[in-house]
C-alpha cells in the first residue's frame, strides 16, 4: 500500500481555502486533479519533497465554471480539461484552447487535471500555455487580504518559477473574447498522440485584412524553456502581405529565434527543421 503521508484538508469554499493558505508555509501545497502532485509524491520528485499538507480545492464552487461577461471569458482555476473540451463557449470562441486541452494525457487525465494545474508549476511542456498566450490570457490571484490580476506571460517567470507568492491561490483565468475575424491553429508534437508529453507545441492566431496581416500572435511551448510569445517576429509580420514567401521567411526566423533562446543543443539538428516546418504548415493552413 502506498501512502504519501500527507494531511489532506478539504475546504468547502474559497474563503476557507484562503484562510488555510494564510497561515501555511512551504510544506503546504495545493491539490486539484492530483495528476502532478500525487505522481510527484509517489515517485519522490524533489518539487514535492517537503509537502506535508495538501489543500484539496476540488469542492470549491468559486473555482469552477466557464462564463462570459463584458467581453471577458472567465475559466475557473479548477475547471477540468474535460469540462473545457465540452464547453460550447470555449469551442466557439477559444478553439485553440479546446484543441490544446484535447491533446492532454488521456480521458482519465482530462477528467481530473485542471487548467491552473497545467501552468501553475510552469513546467515547459504545459500544453495549454501557448494557446493561452496567443489569447492574451491573464490570471486572477487571491490571498486572504488581496486580489491581483497579472498577464500569464508575466506570471511565468522561468522553468518551474512563477510570480505566485506564499498564501496565494490562482482563482480564475481571464481571456478577452477574440474578435470575429481572427483565425488560428495549435499543433502539438509528441511521441504518440495520447498520453504523451509534448516535444514541441506552437500556437498562432492571425487577423487578415485583404491578404495583409493586421495582427498576429505567436507562442511556443516545450520547444523553449518556458512558453513564450515572439514579439519581434510578430512585429516583423504585421502589415505584410500573406504570401508563401512570407510564410517561409517567418518559419526561418522562428527557427533562428528559438535557437537564440535555447542555444545549440544535441537535439537542435532534429528540432530546428521540425519547428520551422511545423510553423510553416500552421501559417499555410491560415492563408486561405
Amino acid at each position: 500500500m502506498i501512502d504519501i503521508m500527507c494531511e489532506v484538508l478539504t475546504p468547502k469554499n474559497l474563503a476557507e481555502a484562503l484562510l488555510l493558505l494564510s497561515s501555511a508555509d512551504s510544506t503546504t501545497k495545493i491539490l486539484a486533479g492530483g495528476t502532478d502532485v500525487v505522481v510527484g509524491k509517489t515517485q519522490g520528485s524533489k518539487r514535492f519533497a517537503d509537502a506535508e499538507t495538501l489543500i484539496d480545492i476540488n469542492r470549491i464552487e468559486e473555482l469552477k465554471g466557464i462564463s462570459e461577461k463584458n467581453g471577458m471569458i472567465s475559466i475557473g482555476a479548477a475547471a477540468t480539461f474535460s469540462e473545457i473540451c465540452k464547453s460550447k463557449l470555449v469551442e466557439e470562441k477559444l478553439p485553440l484552447l479546446k484543441k490544446a486541452s484535447n491533446t492532454i494525457g488521456s480521458l482519465q487525465i482530462r477528467n481530473r487535471a485542471t487548467i491552473a494545474g497545467n501552468f501553475v508549476n510552469n513546467a515547459p511542456c504545459a500544453d495549454t500555455v501557448p494557446a493561452l498566450l496567443v489569447y492574451d490570457a491573464s490570471i486572477e490571484i487571491k490571498s486572504q487580504t488581496a486580489t491581483r490580476n497579472v498577464s500569464l506571460q508575466e506570471f511565468l517567470q522561468g522553468p518551474y518559477k512563477t510570480l505566485l507568492q506564499q498564501g496565494e491561490l490562482v482563482t480564475r483565468i481571464l481571456i478577452p473574447v477574440p474578435q470575429q475575424n481572427y483565425a488560428g491553429d495549435f499543433y502539438k508534437l509528441g511521441r504518440r498522440r495520447a498520453v504523451a508529453i509534448s516535444r514541441l507545441t506552437l500556437a498562432v492566431v492571425i487577423q487578415l485584412k485583404e491578404k495583409k496581416i493586421g495582427d498576429i500572435r505567436i507562442a511556443s511551448g516545450a520547444v523553449t524553456p518556458i512558453g513564450t510569445r515572439f514579439p519581434k517576429l510578430e512585429e516583423f509580420a504585421i502589415g505584410q502581405k500573406m504570401t508563401d514567401n512570407l510564410c517561409q521567411e517567418l518559419a526561418k526566423k522562428m527557427g533562428e529565434e528559438v535557437l537564440a533562446v535555447t542555444g545549440l543543443r544535441w537535439s537542435s539538428a532534429y528540432k530546428l527543421p521540425v519547428v520551422q516546418q511545423m510553423f510553416y504548415q500552421l501559417l499555410k493552413g491560415l492563408e486561405r
Partner: protein
C-alpha cells in the same frame, strides 16, 4: 480519517489514512482486486474506475478525495452472477488475452457508452487511448465495444 462513499451502489465507510491512493483503498481495504496496478503514474489505465460516472486513474486519487463520491469498479457492473454485455462481448470477440488491462478497458468503454450510446471508431479509440494493452490487440477490443453498442441499442428499442 473516516470517509463515506458509495461503492458499487452500496454506501460504505472506512477509517483510513487520507493520503493512501484510491487504488489501494479498493484492493486492500475492500478486497476488490479487479482493479489492477500497472504503471502507478497515470499512464496505463489498468487502475481505471468510475468516479461520479467519469473514468479516472485510481492511482492518482487520494482516499480523502473519495469522501462523499460514487465509485464504480469492475466488480460493480455485473448483474449478480451475470456478466455485463461489455464483458460478454470482450470474451466473444477474443478481446481478452492476459486480462490485465481488461477491467480498465471495460470501464473506460462503459463510461463511453453511458455518455455516447452510438460511438464511432474514432470516439472509441479516443475513449480507450488512456488504456494500454500489450498483448490482445486493440482491434478485438474496439469490435467488442461496437457489438455491445449495437446490442444495447436494440434492447432500448424493444
Amino acid at each position: 480519517m473516516e470517509i463515506k462513499f458509495v461503492l458499487n451502489g452500496k454506501e460504505v465507510a472506512a477509517d483510513i489514512s487520507p493520503s493512501i491512493r484510491l487504488l489501494d483503498l479498493l484492493r486492500e481495504k475492500f478486497e476488490l482486486t479487479g482493479t489492477k496496478e500497472g504503471c502507478g503514474v497515470g499512464e496505463c489505465g489498468a487502475c481505471t474506475v468510475l468516479m461520479n460516472g467519469k473514468a479516472v486513474n485510481s492511482c492518482l486519487v487520494l482516499a480523502a478525495q473519495v469522501n462523499n463520491s460514487e465509485i464504480l469498479t469492475i466488480e460493480g457492473i455485473t448483474n449478480g452472477e451475470e456478466l455485463h454485455p461489455l464483458q460478454k462481448n470482450f470474451l466473444l470477440n477474443g478481446a481478452v488475452q492476459c486480462g490485465f488491462c481488461s477491467p480498465g478497458m471495460v470501464l473506460s468503454s462503459y463510461a463511453l457508452l453511458e455518455e455516447n450510446p452510438n460511438p464511432t471508431d474514432e470516439e472509441i479509440k479516443d475513449a480507450i487511448a488512456g488504456n494500454l494493452c500489450r498483448c490482445t490487440g486493440y482491434k478485438q477490443i474496439i469490435d467488442a465495444v461496437k457489438q455491445t453498442a449495437k446490442e444495447l441499442k436494440v434492447e432500448v428499442k424493444v
